[in-house]
Structures are given as structure tokens and as C-alpha cells.
């Protein structure tokens, strides 16, 4: 390949990574969830913790996104909301990512 082709590939890679970075930032915003008046991120870490902490329990304690303690009294409902918000955000991210990938030469 000549230098122009290499530069073209480099530019395309930059553009794809830029679109991906913006889509990921959007997904992070979309994952914000307020439950019981507290702000949470519906991310994998929160979901895994809620699933683990709620096993066999009616209530448990955790921290919100600002490290304030919260007593979760309806773990099943909370987990359902977290999953909905997480999957909605990641579904959009997936679509944006696929669109970006498809534009790749």
C-alpha cells in the first residue's frame, strides 16, 4: 500500500473510533436511573451487585452513584428496572456501533 492508502485507513479508523466514543458516552447517560429518590448507573457492576445481594433476601443495602447508602426493599423490581434501562441503553449503543462498522471499508 502507498502512503495515501495508509493515511485513508488511518482517517477511517479515527472516524470510527470517534463515533464509537460518542455512542459510548451516550450509553453512559442513558444508563442513569433514579430509584427510591437515589441516582444509580444501570451498568454491569450495579446489576451484578443487586443480583448477588438480593439472593434469598427481601431487602439489602447498597450505595448510590454518590456513595449514599440506600435500603433496597423491593430487589426484584429494582433489578428489573436496572436491566430494562441497561438493555435499552446498550441496544442503542449496539445499533450505533453496527452502523459505524458497516461504513467501514
Amino acid at each position: 500500500m502507498n502512503i495515501d492508502q495508509l493515511k485513508k485507513i488511518s482517517r477511517q479508523s479515527f472516524d470510527i473510533n470517534l463515533q464509537k466514543a460518542n455512542a459510548l458516552k451516550k450509553a453512559e447517560s442513558d444508563q442513569i436511573l433514579v430509584y427510591e429518590n437515589h441516582i444509580f448507573r444501570a451498568d454491569a457492576e450495579t446489576i451484578c451487585f443487586v443480583r448477588t445481594a438480593s439472593e434469598g433476601k427481601d431487602s439489602f443495602f447498597m450505595l448510590d452513584s454518590n456513595s449514599n447508602p440506600v435500603c433496597i426493599t423491593e430487589p426484584t423490581d429494582f433489578l428489573e428496572l436496572l436491566l430494562q434501562r441497561n438493555q435499552s441503553a446498550l441496544n442503542t449503543y449496539h445499533q450505533l456501533y453496527q452502523n459505524t462498522k458497516n461504513r467501514k471499508v
Partner: protein
């Protein structure tokens, strides 16, 4: 409890903020469905076309940015200006293309602000660690209840504004023109006993001043920088390019 959005809009000789405000309000109506109150001056009021509550004040025109008029000296009065129990104050060039603000309004936090922002071109980190001895906050969006604590925050901002040179020296702030971001950062730092405070956990997507805005639609924007065209949809955007008034 009443909830609503408070906007500050003052046209300058260079920028038609009233046009930007109209677009901002249409997106608030579409995506947040909240009442809007605009604080403005007598000249600008007649140019705001949206059907909203407007209140006229005498604006302090003392500040500049890049040698151009910058009427940003009223925000510390938002506590008194707001007719709502829970208020969202936002820059008129912050466009709500999502329901994020609506979600945040459900929280119990009596004062919320962003501590981070990013350039949608990802050219540089929008961090100011070396510009001051305290973390910057982005006063682009403020969410507050009317409580004694938030009254104290706004009163401290007032105090910072009156003695800005002193506070710049105290916190070694390199940017000497009055900036709400630093004034609120100082107030929050002081009222919270120089400790951490609650913030909005994501980052403001910022369209930089040198990006050309090709298109604005109901769901987002298409921008161009050099040979790159970027589509940003269904996410809140803060436009630093004031040409947004003419798109």
C-alpha cells in the same frame, strides 16, 4: 411540589440568544414537558417567540469573553428568580434531546451539577486540574430545591462574585473573568465543608465552538469539523458555537 426550568436570555450585539432560547424551549416542551420561565431584559423580551413565562430584569452587562459582551452575571440570583420549588437552571445553548433531566428530577438531591464534560470531537480532555486548586463544576445545568442549604450555596456564589479577585487568588484560578463554573465550584466546596458533594454522574456532551453545525432537527444535530461529519442523536448537547442561532 412545582417543577420547572429557568433560563437566562440576554441578546448581545453579536449573538441572538433569543433565537437559541426559542429552540431550547421547543426541545424542553417536546422532551421534558416542564413549564419554562425566562429571565430576560426589556430589549430581548420582544424577540422571544415561545409561549412562556418571561420576567424582565436590569441585566448586569459588565463581563466579557474573548473581548465580546458576556451577560452571565445573574445566575447566582436563580434561587430568588425561580417560581418553582424544584428548579432546573440551564444554559439556553444546552439542548435537551433526551429525558435525562426528567430522570434526575426524581432524585432527592437538593442540589445537582455536572462535574465533567467532554468534547464530542474527543480532541482534548475538558479538564481544568491545572487551572485552579479546586475541581471545576459545569454550571451549564443546575438542579436545586429551595432549602436553607441551597440558599446558603447561592448566597456564597453571591459572595464569591462580589470578591472574585480574592477568590481567584485564594484558589489560584488562572481564568480571571467571572465564570459561574468556578463561582459554583467554590460555593459548593465551602458549603460542603471542603469535602465531596453529590453530582450528576455522567458527562456533558459539548459541541466545540469551532465545529460547524450543519443541521439541527428534533432528535439531534449533525456537525462538521474539517473533513469529519458527525451525527449526534437522542442525547443532550451543549453548543459552544453560537452560530447555533442561525441554523
Amino acid at each position: 411540589m412545582t417543577e420547572g426550568v429557568l433560563l437566562y436570555c440576554f441578546d448581545t450585539p453579536q449573538v441572538s440568544y433569543s433565537k437559541i432560547t426559542d429552540r431550547c424551549i421547543s426541545l424542553i416542551e417536546r422532551n421534558l414537558d416542564l413549564p419554562v420561565t425566562v429571565i430576560t431584559d426589556a430589549d430581548t423580551k420582544g424577540r422571544i417567540k415561545s409561549n412562556c413565562d418571561t420576567r424582565v430584569i436590569d441585566v448586569d452587562k459588565g463581563n466579557t469573553k474573548f473581548s465580546k459582551p458576556w451577560y452571565n452575571l445573574e445566575r447566582h440570583l436563580a434561587f430568588d428568580h425561580s417560581p418553582y420549588d424544584r428548579t432546573v437552571v440551564m444554559d439556553v445553548d444546552y439542548f435537551c434531546y433526551s429525558d435525562k433531566i426528567l430522570r434526575l428530577l426524581q432524585s432527592e438531591n437538593d442540589f445537582l451539577v455536572h462535574k465533567s464534560a467532554h468534547d464530542v470531537l474527543h480532541r482534548e480532555e475538558m479538564r481544568y486540574d491545572r487551572e485552579a486548586m479546586l475541581d471545576l463544576v459545569w454550571a451549564t445545568v443546575l438542579i436545586f430545591d429551595k432549602t436553607p442549604r441551597t440558599r446558603a450555596i447561592f448566597d456564597t456564589v453571591k459572595l464569591v462574585k462580589q470578591n472574585y479577585v480574592h477568590y481567584c487568588n485564594l484558589y489560584r484560578i488562572t481564568y480571571k473573568n467571572f465564570r459561574n463554573d468556578y463561582a459554583f465550584a467554590i460555593a459548593l466546596n465551602q458549603i460542603n465543608g471542603h469535602r465531596e458533594y453529590d453530582v450528576i454522574p455522567d458527562s456533558i456532551a459539548t459541541v466545540p465552538a469551532d465545529a460547524e453545525i450543519l443541521e439541527l432537527n428534533d432528535n439531534g444535530a449533525v456537525i462538521r469539523y474539517k473533513d469529519k461529519t458527525i451525527s449526534l442523536q437522542d442525547q443532550d448537547l451543549h453548543f459552544l458555537n453560537k452560530e447555533v442561532a442561525n441554523v
